[in-house]
Amino acid sequence: MTALRARRELGVLLALALLVAFTAADNSRFLSSQSIRDVLLSASILVVLAVGQTVVVVTRNIDLSVGSVLGLTAFATGKLFVAAPGTPLVVAVLAGVGLGALCGALNGALIAAARVPALVITLGTLYVLRGVDHSWASGEQINAADLPRSFLDFGTATVLGVPVLALVAAAVLLVVATWLGSYRVGRELYAIGSEPAAARLSGIPVGARVFLAFVVSGALAGLAGVLHAARYGTVDATVGSGMELQVVAAVVVGGVAIFGGSGTAYGAAIGALLLTTIGSSLAVLRVDPFWQQAAVGGLILAAIGLDRALAARTARRAAARSAADAAAGQDAGRRGEREATHGS
């Protein structure tokens, strides 16, 4: 199983490598450190969101509200700095994460209370939170001039040539992937998505775990909102609109099964990187932006097709094996029956 999963992520990585190689062959500047930095910088926000989404999707749920949560926290962060320009960076980040976690808790509580699929609940909160954002902003826009220099520097700074934002995303990825892969609670999330009934029977507190998954997803969307504000400096009420679909696309392309139970945060992160790279590489290749969307769509379909094919092959093999077992078993069984008849 581990081998299969690794192979799946290797496939996405391979696609990414091919894309980069192909683009670089056409225009060598695509591999310049500036261009790589740009891609990493743009990808880091999507990576954080995709990692959060993975936590929810492995439990056989989905969080469509992440774009709105990002928008709301980005605006709140701006407002915070306008009201108190001296706020330390750490406090701003914690405030954003906290607000995001609160939105996630709202999702989780509604899902637990209403026993309605997460798709519907988070579709609702997607619009509700966007509405809150709009009425709070009431047309106002926060500009880079309103934000302290130190905060904007955080958005563009680099350490040894690597953007700090990318380092933050990598750290989030490492922590969440380890948590999902090697800790009991993380594995329970997979168990819930793999077979909810069995999870309940083996004593996993399903409701509490799903709630936790939504809080994590919300918190990471909140973090992404703070990163967004730092990176772009300009924040209005439309920030992050439609981002939820990009996130879901990244997760699916990265091999996280939409029916839960399998896939890793690493895969989702590579998926996010791939989607971002497609954007800039098609621009470098001077491909019509329309085809960019079509390429993303094609990639999603290819990823799902690949997953289906892998699953079908596993099923075929299992069927062949058990058929062989059954044939051997029936022969022996018949012999057994004959012996029994002789005995009586």
Partner: protein, 500 residues
């Protein structure tokens, strides 16, 4: 002293008493068999031990001390493990993770120690004497291996009481023998095993004690050595056919052959099934749960495919796998699971009642609301469906009324052949009698009726002919008047009268 003892446990669901005052004990190191007809209450007993259902009265004792089993976790804590016929594992996770979910061995900082987990799983499989790769994904494991994984999980939880609910139903001969070896190994370690099976040869081979249940009540507990298959079967049935059945089997003079099934086979489900049904006849398909009866009627109706054979209605061959063609030829199927297959629970009563005959009700392709209401009212009245308004959602009706509505839906197509799968499962006695009266009336009007039923009294009280299936084969055809509970049961379990 018994390791586990049931003391006067009772459980009712609504008005139906599923288990009434059952007591027996399981001794350490002993395999204890539990047999009974379908619906005798065995599964309810299992569910009470599993902590899924709470007994209304009486209780469970472990080593003489009463234990409260409110949740599955309570049963686990009390050392009771239930191995289901088809265990539910996490298909995406490894075998080792399935065993240790939530209790994985951890190393530094609470990280899961995968190597230790694999070793522990290997140790468990070694104790059980079976070879399963702990690293492989659970998806694709044979049912036998899935059971072994469940048993390993129970062992790792220090379970001392193992409840096995028909574990062998889906196993091959070799797998059954391997399971028996595992079970004997568990007993040598002092575990108590409750073994439920429909196969007498297994019960008599494996068990030391045997408890028989009937109609939710305890009948007897004896050492197997003192029993014969015959006495056990007598104790399992032995009931009077009540006045629930308005019909006198064999009273109608059957007409033309309407439904003719020849050599119907599907690998792994049923093989070489052949029978015919005449107009005005009720033919019952009897057998144990899992014998393949539902699969046969689903194939006849075209919901499922079949590999070989043919189905003819009124002499004309039905194309396989086409329910639309079967409906056009005048076949109707009332499925077993009405919630999932028979009704659209959210739609209104009238909409459901006319779903099957939208075409004749439509004018210029548009449904006429008035026509729909009229047809619905007509059948609902004829079947005495008790509903509020015809516009109420079907989900609000009682089980019995839902069943009548499914019948209404199909009868509105005026079929020549009516196939009903478990027509009275889960409905109260009064409605049962009504459904029987209705089916009897339809046969009198010349309809050919095929009834799949697990309730022997219903089979004997209603059927002109009884076809008995066992493990995918047709094993007996008995005229309704001559069939007895014993003869049907013997054919269904593969035991001949007097032989053991």
């Amino acid at each position: 002293m018994s390791l586990l003892r049931l003391r006067d446990v009772s459980k009712s669901f609504g008005a139906v008493a599923a288990v009434r005052g059952v007591s027996f004990g399981l001794d350490p190191g002993v395999v204890h068999g539990l047999v009974g007809e379908n619906g005798a209450g065995k599964s309810t007993v299992v569910k009470m031990l599993a902590g899924v259902h709470r007994p209304d009265a009486g209780g469970v004792e472990i080593e003489g001390r009463p234990v409260e089993l409110h949740r599955p976790a309570d049963a686990k804590a009390a050392g009771i493990a239930v191995i289901h016929q088809e265990p539910t594992l996490f298909p995406d996770l490894s075998v080792a993770e399935n065993i240790f979910m939530g209790r994985q061995p951890t190393a530094r900082l609470g990280r899961i120690d995968r190597a230790a987990m694999r070793r522990a799983a290997e140790e468990l499989f070694a104790r059980l004497g079976v070879a399963v790769d702990p690293e492989r994904q659970a998806r694709g494991l044979s049912i036998a291996d899935q059971q072994v994984v469940e048993i390993a999980k129970a062992l790792s939880l220090d379970a001392r009481v193992f409840v096995m609910d028909e574990p062998t139903a889906a196993l091959t001969g070799v797998e059954v023998r391997r399971l028996f070896a595992v079970v004997r190994g568990l007993c040598e370690r002092g575990a108590a095993v409750l073994f439920i099976s429909h196969r007498f040869d297994e019960v008599f081979t494996l068990c030391r004690d045997l408890t028989v249940m009937r109609d939710g009540a305890w009948v007897s507990t004896d050492p197997v050595a003192d029993l014969t298959v015959e006495t056990v079967v007598r104790r399992m049935v032995g009931r009077e056919v009540s006045a629930l059945y308005p019909r006198e089997p064999g009273a109608n003079e059957p007409g033309e052959v309407v439904l003719d099934v020849k050599g119907l086979s599907r690998a792994g489900a049923f093989s070489d099934i052949g029978f015919e049904v005449r107009a005005g006849e009720i033919v019952a398909l009897a057998g144990l749960v899992g014998a393949g009866r539902s699969e046969v009627v689903r194939a006849v109706f075209g919901v499922d495919r079949y590999d070989r054979g043919e189905v003819r209605v009124g002499g004309r061959r039905l194309p396989p796998g086409s329910p639309a063609a079967a409906m056009a030829a005048g076949v109707a199927l009332v499925p077993e699971d009405r919630r999932q297959q028979g009704l659209v629970m959210e739609l209104s009563v009238e909409r459901n009642a006319t779903l099957t005959r939208l075409r004749p009700l439509a004018r210029f392709g548009l449904l006429s609301g008035r026509g729909e209401r009229r047809a619905a009212a007509e059948w609902a009245e004829r079947l005495r469906v008790k509903h509020g308004r015809p516009t109420d959602a079907v989900g609000t009706l009682s089980g019995g009324n839902q069943q009548k509505l499914v019948l209404a839906k199909w009868l509105a197509t005026s079929p020549k052949v009516l196939i009903v799968d478990e027509p009275t499962r889960g409905i109260d006695v009064g409605t049962k009698a009504e459904v029987h009266r209705l089916m009897s009336g339809l046969a009198d009007e010349g309809m050919a009726v095929v009834m799949v039923s697990s309730e022997l009294p219903e089979v004997l009280g209603m059927a002109d002919r009884v076809l008995v299936m066992r493990e995918g084969q047709l094993t007996a055809e008995l005229p309704g008047r001559r069939a007895t509970e014993e003869s049907v049961m013997f054919a269904a379990t593969g035991q001949r009268e007097g032989g053991a």
